[in-house]
Amino acid sequence: MPVPVTIRLQEADFDVSAEIAALTRGRTDVGAVVNFIGICRGNDDGRTVRALTLEHYPGMAEAEIGRHTAEALARWPLTGLTVIHRHGRIEPGENIVLVVTASSHREAAFQSAEFLMDYLKTSAPFWKREEGAQGAAWVEARHEDDKAAARWTKL
């Protein structure tokens, strides 16, 4: 049975319950579902954030996320996988990204969700512009995110 994989880039918000239901409804082989929800914060390292604007590279963003979901499916025994990444203007408290992984066992669901988030942070072609008290500026990449992604590299 093919494993359902959903990748969506959209301006609209997402409905976490609906996405969980899409991977579990009518099935009895799913024992573990992990969700990660990334949310816009009103404060980044002491700087006030009024909003983020997310720019992305259409076409490549889907392709790059698709490569990582394919790798996740190859590495872990998943029963389903969903990645939704918003773009456009997002205010503090609003959702940015959702990853849902489903599996028979919890280890696979947890590890694949972390893997996908680490790669979304460092490899998916999205760029955040932060509107703050002093005007707007592009968010700089975090070195910790590169380290987090590097731990998944096969030896």
Partner: protein, 83 residues
């Protein structure tokens, strides 16, 4: 060859995409960055720090040593900050 720019690379150059026709001596992504930097002040500013520029050929991440022969679409952008 179509070239795309994103985030502050796009802002500094002042456009999102254009068609360029580099000379034959420009063979790698690194060569192309050097050649682009010589196309005017806005390009010099955008490509001033090649280490902070990432590139993709036909929607796949590539390193500076990647050959550009056969590329239809090359994109330049800063390190990614999605997620």
């Amino acid at each position: 060859m179509k070239v795309l720019y994103f985030a502050w690379v796009r802002e500094r150059i002042g456009k999102a995409e254009e068609i360029v026709d580099p000379p034959a001596a420009v063979q790698t992504v690194g060569d192309l960055i050097g050649w682009m930097a010589g196309r005017g002040e806005e390009y010099a500013t955008a490509f001033a720090s090649p280490k902070t520029i990432r590139a993709a050929i036909d929607r796949t991440h590539v390193k500076p040593e990647a050959a550009i022969a056969g590329a239809r679409e090359i994109a330049f952008f800063p390190p990614m900050t999605g997620g």
